[in-house]
Structures are given as structure tokens and as C-alpha cells.
């Protein structure tokens, strides 16, 4: 007993070193998460914090907690975070202009206030406490941390442990409710249905629109396809990219369609006509 206390009361050099390395890292990660502008950076900072915490736990002789921290939080949850961020778009960010007067100031003041209060309370209560290592007999009955957690989960805390499954089911159902749309409700038709609809005349033309022309000089989608008579196929030009290229083709389209300027008294001065 005496021995255990003596052993617990001293902190080994290795533990001290690792704490002074990991502690600032965790803190820096936490601050970085808050102040980083980029969401991905924020997430990565959080990963750093959690990794450091996991390591601290392991140094503190709580291997189970340490591994859970790394596997579940860093491994699973944070990676999901990153997936979502990437899906939403790396550049997507909310406006960071604060419209509420005094919000930031008060948030800062109160946040620091709460931190001071709780830190003060915790620090005050820790002044005259003897620390114990988790590996010692007094803490875990000599059976170690992992076995004890296992026993608690399957005995005293069996019910709350099982209850978390209700939470998981709810979460899964929630994801389905908020995320899943079946096809007919999404309003998208199959290819077969589309073809039938086309031939029934629901669309302007039965066949797909002609693709853009690909020439030796250009491979842009803005380049129009040419019809067999050498004229431009207007439908091959996307409506979305009605670019300057399309404008330039206007005269050609007119001439092919026969709506262009006919030969007449001013035929010798086409420039003026064009500038109309």
C-alpha cells in the first residue's frame, strides 16, 4: 500500500516529457480548430487534438480509453467529418461577418469566464489530493483497466450500454429519413421511359441533340457541329455557353438559313450591313 502510493506520487521523467509535448499540442490543436478559416484545416486540427489526448491517456495507463479515442474519434468520426466536408466542397464556407452587435465580444468574455470558473473550481479541489496511478492496485484491484471496464459494461452499466443501441437506431433512421429519396419521388425517369416519352412526342425531337463539332483547330464545346451541307447545326451549341463563338456564327447561320442579306444595291458594302 505504502509502496503503491509512493510509486504513484512520483511522476516519471518520460511521463513528464510526453505530457509537456502532448499537452501543448492538444491545446494548440483545439485553438487552431476554432480559429482556422478553412473547414478542412479545422477538422485536421481537431484530429491533432484527439491524437494527442489519446496518447496522453495511454501514458496515463488507460490503454483502453486511449485506443478508443484514436480508433473511434480520430479514425472513424473525424474521417467521416472530412468526407462530409469534401462532399460539401472544400471551398464552401459560411459568411464569417458577424451581424449581431456585441456577439463576439460577449462570447469571448463569457467563454473565458466559464473557463476561468471551471478551471478555478477544479484547480482548487485538486490542491491537496494525492494522485494514484491507474495501474496500481488501489485503482483497479490489480486486474487492470480494461478488464474492469469490461466487467462494468456487462454488469452494472449493462442497461445504459444497451440503451445506446436505441440511440444508434434513432441515428440510422434519422439518416434515412433526411437523406433517402426513392427514384419515382426524385422525379427522374429511366432511360427506357425517356425514349418512350421522346417517341410519343413529349420532347422536341426523338433523338439526342447533336454533339459539338470537333475540328483540327479546336476541341471546345463551343465549336458548333456542321451539317452535311457545311452549315452550322445550331442545336449542337449549348444554350448554357452561348459564348462569343456562337455570336460570331450568327451571320453564317443567317446565310445558311437564307435569311441573310440578299444581293441588292448595297451588296458591295456588306460591312455597313453587318454593323447594323
Amino acid at each position: 500500500m505504502l509502496l503503491a502510493q509512493q510509486g504513484a506520487a512520483t511522476v516519471s521523467t518520460g511521463e513528464a516529457v510526453s505530457f509537456w509535448v502532448l499537452g501543448p499540442l492538444a491545446l494548440a490543436g483545439a485553438l487552431g480548430m476554432i480559429f482556422a478559416r478553412n473547414a478542412v484545416h479545422s477538422a485536421l486540427f481537431l484530429v491533432m487534438t484527439m491524437l494527442s489526448l489519446g496518447c496522453i491517456y495511454m501514458v496515463q495507463q488507460a490503454p483502453f480509453l486511449g485506443f478508443v479515442q484514436i480508433i473511434v474519434y480520430t479514425g472513424a468520426i473525424m474521417m467521416l467529418f472530412l468526407f462530409v466536408l469534401m462532399l460539401v466542397g472544400r471551398d464552401a464556407s459560411d459568411s464569417v461577418v458577424e451581424v449581431l452587435r456585441g456577439q463576439r465580444l460577449w462570447a469571448g468574455v463569457l467563454g473565458v469566464g466559464l473557463a476561468v470558473l471551471i478551471t478555478g473550481a477544479v484547480a482548487r479541489s485538486l490542491i491537496d489530493v494525492t494522485d494514484q496511478g491507474l495501474a496500481a492496485d488501489t485503482a483497479n484491484g490489480g486486474r487492470g483497466n480494461v478488464a474492469n471496464i469490461g466487467q462494468l459494461i456487462f454488469s452494472d452499466y449493462l442497461f445504459p450500454f444497451e440503451l445506446t443501441s436505441a440511440l444508434l437506431i434513432t441515428a440510422a433512421v434519422g439518416a434515412m429519413v433526411l437523406g433517402y429519396v426513392n427514384r419515382e419521388q426524385r422525379g427522374r425517369r429511366t432511360q427506357k421511359e425517356l425514349v418512350e416519352a421522346r417517341f410519343r412526342g413529349e420532347h422536341d425531337r426523338p433523338s439526342p441533340l447533336p454533339g459539338p463539332g470537333v475540328f483540327a483547330t479546336a476541341n471546345s464545346v463551343a465549336t458548333p457541329a456542321l451539317l452535311p451541307d457545311g452549315s452550322v447545326a445550331p442545336e449542337s451549341l449549348s444554350r448554357l455557353i452561348e459564348s462569343t463563338t456562337a455570336d460570331k456564327l450568327a451571320a453564317e447561320r443567317e446565310s445558311v438559313a437564307g435569311t441573310g442579306p440578299a444581293a441588292g444595291t448595297r451588296a458591295l458594302a456588306p460591312g455597313k450591313e453587318e454593323s447594323r
Binding site: L100, Q103, W106, L110, G111, L114
Partner: protein, 663 residues
Amino acid sequence: MTGTFNLALDTQPAAGAASAAWLLLVLPALGAAVLLIGGRRTNKWGHLLGSGMVIAAFAYAVVLFFDTTSLAAEDRLRDLHLFDWISVNQLSVDFGLRLDPLSITFVLLITGVGSLIHIYSIGYLNHELEDRRRFFAYLNLFIAAMLLLVLGNSFVTLYFGWEGVGLASYLLIGWYQGKDFAATAAKKAFLMNRVGDVGLALAIFLMFKTMGSTQYDVVFSQIGDQSTGTIVAIGLLLLLGACGKSGQFPLQAWLPDAMAGPTPVSALIHAATMVTAGVYLIARSSPLYSLPQAEDARLVVMIIGAITLLLGCVIGCAYDDFKKVLAYSTVSQIGYMILAVGLGPAGYAFGILHLLTHGFFKAGLFLGAGSVMHAMNDEGDIRRMGGLWKKMPVTFVTWTLGYLALIGFPFLSGYFSKDEIINAALGQGGTRGWVFGGIALLGAALTAFYMTRLLILVWLGKPRWENLTSPATPDPESPEAPVGKPYHPHESPSTMTIPMIILAFGSVAGGAILSAVLPEWLTPAIGEVEETHGALSHTMVGILTVVLAAIGAGLAFLLFGRRETAVERPKRVSFPVRAARADLFGNHLNEALFARPGTWLTRALVYVDNRGVDGLVNGIAAGLGGSSGRLRRTQTGFVRSYALSMLGGSILVIAALLMVRFA
């Protein structure tokens, strides 16, 4: 000071005819329920059903009365246990009725006057047939709640009825939906009543805390063992409740405004029954107020009564609105009653006596006023009336009888009751006796003054309405908009006149009969009347009262009877000038000696009433609204600002916890 206070605390279980006393509550409640749920289907016969229910209740009350008189005096306190309402652990409230002379007296008054006013309302509301059914539903609701108030055998049951009548009164004051002032008046009545209710609720909680019950018999048998502080506190809190409900100083301002409701409502609720609930409360709590330890509380009751009775008289002199004058008169007469019950065993019976006679004549006066307004396109400005006696003889005669009763004309009902109160007040002896007795005497003179003014302006003199038309807008504050209908005053239908005639009989004969039998009849409930011997003999007091009333009435004749009354209300600055020009020789002295100081006093009081009390009420309402609006801005809709307020709250909670522990 306690006197020969003899109260039988042991109540007998009710049997025989009395065991069906719950019918009194069920009949009107059933009427209200049928009318409210039945909706439009009951339009045709709703008013008949409503009246029938109240008349049936009255019939039963008469049976109950005779049943009680057949018992020996000491057996007349009866308890009808209905069911255990709340009973858990040490907390026990059972729901029962207390049938004793006091409650039966009130039941007779409520159902009797209630029946008459139901009948009157059939005629009064014949212009608005669509809504008449709903009106009767509310009236029935009121009757049921009022009966619950007086019949309950515990303070909690009383509180039930108390809230119920408040609600019914609120609904009925706001009856004229289109008018803004009706809604405002209803709101004001509600708010000021709630102040009183808080007092009553606190008194009830305090009783629970100290005595573990609110049953009358338990409370009254244990109240003597409590500390003086508790007794005085309960007494004052009950008084606060009474002030709210009965329009006593400083909570009187809602009552005149409540005249925005239909006239039958004013007659029933705001003259005869509900506003007297405060008097009932104090009389019912007589075992508490009679204790020597409650001396201080009783003194406060008397002071409040005296202040209110003067205040009501003086302000009554100033108003030009028919019903508002009557309303201030009510305030002042209830002041008399509160003063009487504040006198202790010497005055309880006389307070109740005045309450009953007042119930008759004031209801009659209001019904008369309603009859006039009904005939005058709902006009309430007395300056636009005059000479109506030729057009409405029945109303005139009944009204005048009520008037005579109110001013204390010898051997009419008001004479007996007011006389007794003044005598009892003087009987206090010493300075106190002279102060309260003097105030009561002065009040009698002032009452005669303003009532005579009303009589002259409304009924006598030249008909000033002949060349006028009613204001186009129903706004009473601006009579200058002469595009309305011309006035065609006419006598009212018989459904309206018959109740007035009956009430007039009551006003004439009620006092003589009641003053002979009432004190003895009430003895089992509130104790024997304590004989008092003041500085003046009883006969002397009677003569003095009549003389003072005659002086007041004569003064009014001098001021208003002999000259033209302007239709427009005189502007404040020009009043003395115009008066002097009109009657240079006769009234100048009167003006200088009486009228002008009186006018100033009156104006000052009206000003205080309008600005001070109303201002306070409106100010509180505005303050609440304003702070609500300001607080509302914190509800920005942004999560981060909500989170911030939560964080702030948490820090306060945690810091407070740590500070309480370690400071």
C-alpha cells in the same frame, strides 16, 4: 372591545330541504352551459331559459329560508358536505356549502335581484336579439359563481366563486365589442381585480400554513391561537382582496369604468351583488376581525371605508355621465358598508343591512338609468337630458323613490341603514368616534347633494334634448358631431318597468322591515349586535342625518335648479365667469363659499383619479408591454445568440453557487 361575541362554531349537517342546496349552483350553471354549448339553436328561447333558471333558484332560496327560520336559532348554522375536493397527506379541502343566515341572506339578494334583472334584460336587449342568448349565458354564469362565493364553506371555495365572478364581470364589461373604451375598461377591471386576488390568495395560503385548513369552522376555531402578526397579516390581506373586488380605495378606479358594460350588468354586478363581495368577505371573517389582536387590521378597514366613502361622494359631484355618477355613488355606499363592518360587532349587521337596502335602491336607480338611456339612443350625458319626467312617468316615479331611499329620506330604506351605521361610528367614542362619525355624516350631506343634482339635470327643468341629436359616433368624449338621430324618449316596455316597480317597493319598505328583523336573524352567523352609546343619542343622530341631507339637497337646488344648464360641459377656465354672468346676484356667494372650493376639490380628486390611479394602472401595463418589447429583441432567431444567453445564464448559476458556498 370583543364584546358579547357569541358564535356557534359547531355546524349541523344539513338535512331535509337544505340537502338539495347544490341545486342553487347547478341551476344557473346548467343554464349557462346549455346556452353556451347550444349556440344559435337556443336564440329563440335562450333568454327565457336563463331567466327561468334564476327564478327557480330564487324559489328554492325562499324555501330554504323558511326551512331555516323553522329551526331554533342555534341550529341555523348548517353545513352541506358535497365531496372531498383535495385530500392528500395533511392537505385537505372538502367541497361543501355553508347554509347559515348570512349566506342565505346573500342568496336571497342575489337570486331575487338577479331574477328581476334577468327579466329586465329581456326588454333591454331587444335591439340585439342575435347576441341576447350569449348575454344570458354570461349572466347565468355570474349568478352561479356568485352563489358559489357566498355558499362555500371554506375560503378556497370562496376563492373559486371570487375568480368566477371576476371572469363573468370581465366578459360582461367588454360586452360592447365595437367600442374601444369597453375593452380598455374590461382590461382595467381585470388587472385591478387581480391585485386584490393576489391578496386573497396569499391570505388563504397563510391560513393553510398556520392552521392547515381553510374551512371556516377550522379557521375560526383556531384563529385565536395564532400570533398577532399572523392575524393582522391575514386581516390586511383579506382587506386587500375586498378592496379589489369592491372598488375600495386605492383600487376603486375600475368600477366607474366598468359602466362601459350594459346597464343591467351595472345594476346586478357593479351595484347590487358582486361589488359587495368584499363586504361579505369581511363579515364572513367576523370571528377574525372581532379578535382583540385584530384591532389594528380593523382600524385599517375603517380608514379605507371612510376614505372611500368621501372620495366617492366628492367625485360623484363632478361627473356628467349618468352611470358614472351612480358608479361613484356605489363606491361611496360600499365605503359605508366597509366602514360598518370595520366597526366590529357593533357594525356587522348594519353593514349587511345597508348592503341589502343598497342592493334594492341602487339596482333600481341603475335600471332607471338604463331605461332612460334605452329611450335616449344610449345617451349617457346628463347635460343632454332634462324634463324627462313627462315622457317616462313610471321610470321617473320609481327612480325618484330610489333616490329618496339613497339620500336617507325619513322612513325609506336608506334612512334606517345609513342611520345605524352613522350611529355605530359615532358610538366608537372619543376622537375616533367623532372622526368616523363626522365623515359618515358629511358623506350623507354630499350624497344628497350629488343625487339631487342628478335628479334635477335628468328629470326636471327644461327638456334640453329637443333640439339635439345623438352624437354620430358612439364615443362619449366628443358630443359635438351633430349628425346623429334626434331623441325620442319613450316609456320602456313592461319587462323593464315591472322590475323597476318591484325594486321601488323594496326601496321604500325594505329598510323598515329589514332593520327590525335582520340583526336578530344574523346573530347565529356573525354574533350579536353590540350596543354602542356615543356622544349623541340615536334620535339625535337620525335628526342630524336628515337635516344634513336636506341641506345638501337644498344646496343642489340652489345651484342647479334655478338656472339653465348648458348642454356642453363648461370649459374649466370659463366656468366661474359664465356662472357669474348667468346669475350675478343669487349664486355669486354660493360660488365663492361652497361651489368654488368644492369644484376645486372635486377637480383635484378627479384629476388624481384619472392621472394618478389610472396613470398607475396604465403605466404598469405600458411598462410591462415596453419591457416585453425590449426583452423580445433578445429573441433574435440566431442560434449563436441563444447559445450566448445560455452561456451567460450558466455562468451566473455556477458563479452564484460557488459564491454562496465560499463567499
